[in-house]
Amino acid sequence: MTAFLLKRLGFAFITFLAVLTIVFFIIRILPGDPAYAILGDQANEQALQALRARLGLDQPLFVQYLEFLRGVAVGDWGVSLVSGRPVLQDILEVMPATLELTFVSLFLGAVIGIPVGVWSAVRRNKLTDYIARSASLLGLSLPAFVTAVLLLLVFSIQLRWFPVISSGQGATFGERLRDLALPAINLGLIMAAYITRVSRSAMLEVLNQDYVRTAKAKGLSFAIIIRRHCLRNTMIPVVTVVGLYLGILIGNSVLTEIVFNRPGLGKLIIGSLYQRDYPMLQGMMVIYTMIVVLVNLITDLTYGFIDPRIKYS
């Protein structure tokens, strides 16, 4: 178990470095001068050079890269050009709101998606299957901001059940929940659409296995076959999906936060894009990289728990 853990940790670290490197060079290789972008057309050469020096952009690329890695390692992510506060501090302040939203959505997505997917596979090509498949296809086809706008239109504006703007800073638990409800439902339903599809196809594959036929032949009840022989094997692809669709989850959380005007990483990155807050953008890239690598590590470790065979191979 320790060897498995260490191997995964080492691999995660290498991946983290690789993503950071790729992202760093993608940003730097692209044409466009950040100093120029920040200061605009009217800036004179002196001001441009001063800003370049302040951002370290006058250094050779390799020196910039080492400096960037050093900063990431020691937690010195630079100072935001807008707020004047350390980038890391600004990011950590809004992190909880985003994590709250994504975790609750993921939970909702799993609670809805897994049973619907399993059910849909069991009732393959029956009416329930068609309904579940159509619903999940619809969920996959609507961009997150469209569903968010629709939810807002119906539940906040027409029915007035929820606030139009969710501050995410509600004082009491009830207020927080009310703020969280619509954004989480929006993101959760989209995740449910993805999870339904994967659970269905994973379940279909498992149902075709020989051991399921054996279990049926033994005379086990259908419920026990599903629970004891199928579910665990269905879970592996489903867990993979959480890792694989993380990018989609993050992208959709950004859109959701914008529509519901909810503080979080999404609003922070959009704000820093508009304001050309270069150090903040760089910091956001680092934090997203960390999240991606960390979630992939967790998914990898989860396999080990669900399927002990993986640990030893």
Partner: protein, 301 residues
């Protein structure tokens, strides 16, 4: 004793013709197997037709402002109403379709060619080169496409070409993966071995013999990723990083509609429906085709 050299070396043109022919045959078979693909294709082609005909059929100039007619609900005069500047929503949706489809097709075209080439090369060469290339692709695959797209567009500036490049960059890794797996499966098959024994060049084997075999799968994924590309383009436009106003884009229209949502909800609704039709159509098309092309699912029905 003379070694028989290949009599005539076919050019790339012949390779691609062979690939396209192979894809077409597979696609036609797939269509017959799964009827929903037809529905998807119909929806998508209808939207393409509307986009192509936009200059002819759009009832108004999409940029023409008419302050007296602003925020009109749907009527006989303006079927889908007018926006904050009195511009005709229907005309703007028709013209917006051109932007969405152009960016979508261009970006997926680039991603398909570049990604497949990377995957084909990586899978064919194998060994350490393959490991390094695919690790890099996996790493990029893990990064949120929307965030990467956002940053690239913010840096390059929001023009149609730049948006296509940004979205293409985010879609290259999946195509590399899709092309690589079948390449590895195919490269040790007898017909490739035979080609190698005949002294065919690597180029000829890759493009002439392997590509036609993996082309159908790449094409199917292309239709699914086209749906994603159109969704990402709309998302970027919604955030404010689409093709600059006043050019009509669906995402941009929803954004403007969202600002007037309290009194004119249809402004956000109609472009949303347009996005839904295209993306749903492409998903239906791709899903149906994939079921038919994916060998794992064969013989299940």
């Amino acid at each position: 004793m003379s070694v028989d050299a290949p009599a005539r070396k076919p050019g790339y043109g012949a390779y691609f013709r062979a690939s396209i022919a192979a894809s077409l045959i597979a696609v036609i078979k797939a269509f017959n197997a799964n009827k929903t693909s037809w529905v998807g294709l119909g929806l998508f082609l209808a939207m393409v037709l509307l986009a192509v005909l936009a200059p002819v059929i759009a009832p108004y100039d999409p940029l023409e402002q008419n302050i007296l007619d602003r925020l009109q609900p749907p009527s006989a005069e303006h079927w889908l109403g007018t926006d904050f500047f009195g511009r005709d929503t229907l005309s703007r949706i028709l013209w917006g379709a051109r932007i969405s489809l152009t960016i979508g097709l261009a970006s997926i075209g680039i991603a398909m060619v570049v990604g497949s080439a990377i995957g084909l090369f990586s899978g064919y060469v194998g060994g350490r080169v393959d490991i390094v290339i695919m690790q890099t692709m996996d790493v990029l695959l893990a990064f949120p496409a929307l965030i990467l797209g956002l940053i690239i567009v913010a840096m390059l500036g929001p023009s149609i070409a730049n948006l296509a490049i940004a979205i293409a960059l985010t879609a290259i890794p999946p195509f590399a993966r899709i092309a690589r797996a079948p390449t590895i499966a195919v490269k040790n098959r007898e017909f490739v071995e035979a080609g190698r024994a005949l002294g065919y060049s690597d180029k000829r084997l890759m493009f002439g013999h392997i590509l036609p075999n993996i082309a159908p799968e790449i094409l199917v994924m292309g239709s699914l990723w086209l749906a994603t590309a159109i969704r990402v383009e709309a998302s970027l436009a919604f955030i404010g990083l689409g093709v600059s106003p006043p050019t009509p884009t669906w995402g941009g229209m929803i954004r403007e509609g969202f600002e007037n949502i309290l009194d004119s909800f249809w402004l956000a609704l109609f472009p949303s429906i347009a996005i839904l039709i295209v993306v749903l159509g492409l998903n239906l098309l791709g899903d149906g085709l994939r079921d038919a092309v994916d060998p794992r699912l064969k013989g299940e029905e």
